[in-house]
């Protein structure tokens, strides 16, 4: 009788802490119920929406063999296993784990990790798994996170722990403002999910596909909101949305146009480092030339120097014209995407098959 009572209490406790699961992805209790409902709706959409045309570049970049829902869901499932909410307290749930049979690979850390890890945490804020893995690798400590009572060891960025914020559901970012679960809103949120899922990939220098600082002259200049590779998170987010927009049969013209603007914004963050450097050099030269021109034009020069000053003004004007023409011809967005990084993930993880993930999704539907 006592044994039965203990069993009952244990089962109650375990059910109280059980993570809610959908399509193989677990939702932490910190994710509000309405957000869980919308995310479930999005996963249902990506799995069930009929695909009439596949985006070839999306398939080649993701390595998918088909653009159908089961393959798309499988790609997400292999990179996102846990979703925590905005109020999930990382410090309170952080655990150092005994590193008994686990060794980090001896590959180098990404460039962003060479100084301090704060930059990385900011950049991949939404992909906690990647940030925790890289921090553990740097300190050579196996780290884990408490997931409603379950301790999850982060032995690879592929452990797949994402943090979603209320921004994902903010009305201002909505494509369809009247229905949070409209297909167009699902496409937009799924694009973000693909973007964040890419941060679970990579090895050595490419681990986490960290963002790069946007170059001089870029509209996000100085922010870590760009990438120099041709297969990073922004490219992948854009390609996934392009694939989904082309297959959204119920999206209106207005909705599709907003989604296309999102795609353009993501592609616009992908740049070729050499072109960006050339642009920065030209901008610096142009700035100097303009400052010199202003100095010659506004200075009170002795009459004896007038001819020389006029000569300088003519020369600088000519130089400015040339530099401006060179800048106009130099584009930030390349004709061909920059070189791709190695997307193979490092650490301990198991790549699951389409059959397995599809089975999990069918159980949830």
């Amino acid at each position: 009788m006592k044994f039965l009572a203990v069993l009952t209490v244990l089962s109650c406790l375990s059910s109280a802490h059980a993570l809610e699961e959908f399509g193989g992805i677990s939702f932490h209790s910190s994710v509000p119920a309405d957000q869980v409902a919308s995310l479930k709706n999005d996963l249902r959409y990506v799995f069930t929406n009929p695909v009439t045309q596949s985006d070839a570049e999306f398939l080649s970049t993701t390595g998918l063999t088909a653009g159908t829902g089961d393959h798309l869901h499988n790609w997400i499932y292999n990179r996102v296993r846990y979703i925590v909410g905005e109020n999930y307290d990382l410090r309170r749930n952080f655990r150092a784990r005994p590193k008994l049979f686990f060794k980090y690979p001896k590959s180098p850390l990404p460039d962003g990790m060479s100084g301090n890890s704060i930059n990385v945490v900011q950049v991949v804020m939404s992909n906690l798994g990647g940030a925790v893995y890289l921090t553990g690798k740097k300190e050579d400590v196996l780290l884990g996170l408490d997931m409603d009572g379950d301790l999850v060891s982060v032995k690879s960025p592929r452990t797949g722990i994402l943090q979603v914020g209320s921004g994902l559901f903010y009305e201002g970012f909505s494509i369809n403002k009247s229905d949070v679960n409209a297909p167009a809103n699902s496409v937009s949120r799924l694009g973000t999910l693909f973007h964040e899922a890419r941060h679970s990939d990579g090895n050595g220098k490419s681990t986490g596909f960290l963002h790069d600082i946007c170059p001089a002259g870029h509209q996000y200049e100085g922010h870590a909101a760009c990438e120099v590779s041709g297969n990073g998170s922004y490219t992948l987010g854009a390609l996934s949305e392009r694939h989904m927009v082309q297959n959204c049969g119920t999206c209106t013209t207005e909705e599709k146009t907003i989604l296309v603007a999102r795609i353009a914004d993501s592609f616009n963050r992908v740049f070729d480092r050499s072109k960006a450097q050339a642009r920065a050099t030209l901008l610096a030269e142009l700035k100097t030339a303009k400052e010199l021109l202003q100095m010659y034009q506004t200075g009170s020069w002795p009459r004896t120097m007038r001819a020389q000053v006029d000569g300088e003004i003519r020369a600088l004007r000519s130089k400015i014209t040339t530099l401006e023409a060179q800048l106009a011809n130099l584009t930030i967005v390349p004709d061909v995407r920059p070189a791709s990084l190695d997307p193979r993930a490092e650490g301990n993880f198991k790549e699951e098959s389409v059959q397995k993930s599809a089975g999990l999704m069918r159980k949830s539907l």
Binding site: I175, T257, A261, S266
Partner: protein, 174 residues
């Protein structure tokens, strides 16, 4: 009995006389009409003017082309200044709003063909403007070309001043 009929006859005659006295003659009728016509000129002009205005308003309402937004309504690079690291990590609201504006323009022109030429010109101006957000310029250019073909409305494009980066970005859009 005869006396009773006589009284009734007198009463009918009296009523008839009374009716004839109170009914205006034809001259009197025309006089009253002319009185209306000869109201003060200002009042008449006011009525006529109001009628013309009403007709004009209804004509404008039924056939005129609604106003398009100005180029100032497109999001500018200045709108992206001072955004935090978090705000620029994913597509900012200004870009979403720009996409919405372009989508609404196309929708309106789709339903209202007289708007199409002006819409294409506005989209072309948006693509050419150095102040408009790059992603939105690319969407504008994409739609200038695709809708021109779709609507079969001609505007000259050979003189376009769209920089290479906007053209390249536009070529990657669905």
């Amino acid at each position: 009995m005869k006396k009773r009929y006589f009284i009734l006859l007198v009463a009918v005659l009296a009523l008839g006389a009374f009716y004839l006295k109170n009914t205006p003659s034809s001259e009197e009728i025309s006089a009253s009409d002319s009185e209306v016509i000869n109201r003060p000129q200002s009042t008449k002009q006011h009525l006529v003017a109001k009628t013309i205005k009403q007709t004009a308003v209804s004509a404008v309402q039924s056939t005129s082309v609604p106003e398009l937004p100005s180029l100032d309504e497109f999001p500018t690079l200045a709108d992206l200044q001072d955004l935090s690291e978090d705000e620029v990590h994913h597509t900012p609201e200004a870009v979403i709003n720009g996409g919405r504006l372009v989508g609404q323009l196309i929708d309106r022109a789709e339903k209202n063909p007289p708007l199409r030429e002006k819409t294409l010109q506005l989209l072309k101006s948006c693509a050419e403007s150095d102040e408009v957000v790059t992603a939105v310029r690319a969407v504008c250019w994409k739609n200038t070309v695709s809708q021109m073909k779709n609507w079969r409305v001609f505007i000259p494009l050979s003189d376009m001043k769209v920089p290479a980066n906007v053209l390249e970005l536009s070529s990657q859009l669905p």
